[in-house]
Symmetry: C2
Amino acid sequence: MKNWDTVAIVGVGLIGGSIGMALRQKNLAKNVIGVGRSQTGLRAARRADAVTHTTVDLAKGVAAAELVIVCTPVERIVEFVRQAAQHGSERTLLTDVGSAKQPIVAALDSGLAHGTRFLGSHPLAGSEKTGVQNASPDLFDGRVAILTPTKNTRAEDFDALEAFWQSLGSVVAQMTPEQHDQAMAMTSHLPHMAAAALAATVPERYFRLVGGGLLDTTRVAAGDPELWRQILMMNRQNALQALEQYGAQLAALHAALRDDDQAGLTRLLTQAQKNRDALGR
Amino acid sequence: MKNWDTVAIVGVGLIGGSIGMALRQKNLAKNVIGVGRSQTGLRAARRADAVTHTTVDLAKGVAAAELVIVCTPVERIVEFVRQAAQHGSERTLLTDVGSAKQPIVAALDSGLAHGTRFLGSHPLAGSEKTGVQNASPDLFDGRVAILTPTKNTRAEDFDALEAFWQSLGSVVAQMTPEQHDQAMAMTSHLPHMAAAALAATVPERYFRLVGGGLLDTTRVAAGDPELWRQILMMNRQNALQALEQYGAQLAALHAALRDDDQAGLTRLLTQAQKNRDALGR
């Protein structure tokens, strides 16, 4: 297990806070520096023992770090990585935890300041919750973390980041940024859109009649609209395509029901059950 | 709290079994007679202490019962209620737990044998699980149970059935069969269709990459395809209409994303979040 001297976490919310808590609890880093916008947020991170030091000054926060993890909303990742690189050195590896990868990696894959390097990460561990108050050191336990290296990625950087996520309990998978974004459109961005559209469809007068099925099916729609707007916009073409494939399945369901096609309806529901059972709990 | 001498449960699965277990645990009925198709299923019901007596003979099972609760799949409810009525008397009240009500109530609202009466029930307490092995005496605790009386319903029958569901922990709501079926199309049948179509859309190669969002959003798709085919077919017109309203929301989402309408996308996601928060946990 690799031990780090200093890791900087830019944005100590649900994911950043959970990374810090895991590093602290597993004793994987001597210093965990939380970089945030406000003292209030940083105080909460200290109270949660997610960080050993805090600062609102990015330059100071990342200067001594071998590993900088940018955990901000996706639209600001490129900007923060570039800024952090300005204060780094040949020793500095930068990564992120963004839910879309292609535009971020394309912008940061080469030419960063002072010989620093960026390698994209995405731990599949979010939820509808936000903030360090919902963070947990076990958030990554047994969950997949995707790394998106390119032809410019150094083997030792990949190995270091792979070891990092594994030490947090993650199972590391490797994909191109494009493969990642296509996959996430289906497995994460489409479920969010399906759930949000469903929550928006149900009339208020029926809210008292909801059962567990509707609650489960719409749960992720409670996620932060601003975070999700950014994610969907950043993965727009893939998200649109996933939505169209979902629309085709719904149209098939509608046609089977409308045409009294009992066999067709059973076939679709059976395929759905088979897939759902294969997904696990 | 009304105590019953003899209650018969026709079909001792998840719902029927849970009713029996609640009656037993709360000591609400002296005899709980489980009527089933097979000795194997009935043995499991006895082991779960869901029933005091069992039989595969409907006539014998219902003969002494003041209350008969038909918990079979929806397509067979009408037939079992009619059969049970043949062996009842003026003292016999019959109900069901079906997820669609209009066609069932229309068929059973009057003219049952021997002065027996039917009053439709629907406890909102199902899940993707089935069978008495998943039954629980707490299944109805704090959950809504809908009663669907008509102009033919006797007040004392309504009162008895209301007291029955309340004694199981349910909050009783009253609706017409038509109102019930419209509401359930939105709050239960549409979520199932949305989840099933989503589960059927995600390609198998991505199954290892699923996160909590997809798992939640597709959970109900694990439900029994045959039970759901029956429910959707029985509430076909309302289910189609709900599906069309969902399609309109998805189309709005698609248009906002396609047209780079950030404000429109935020509006839809914010409405969805607001609704989801209002639904509870």
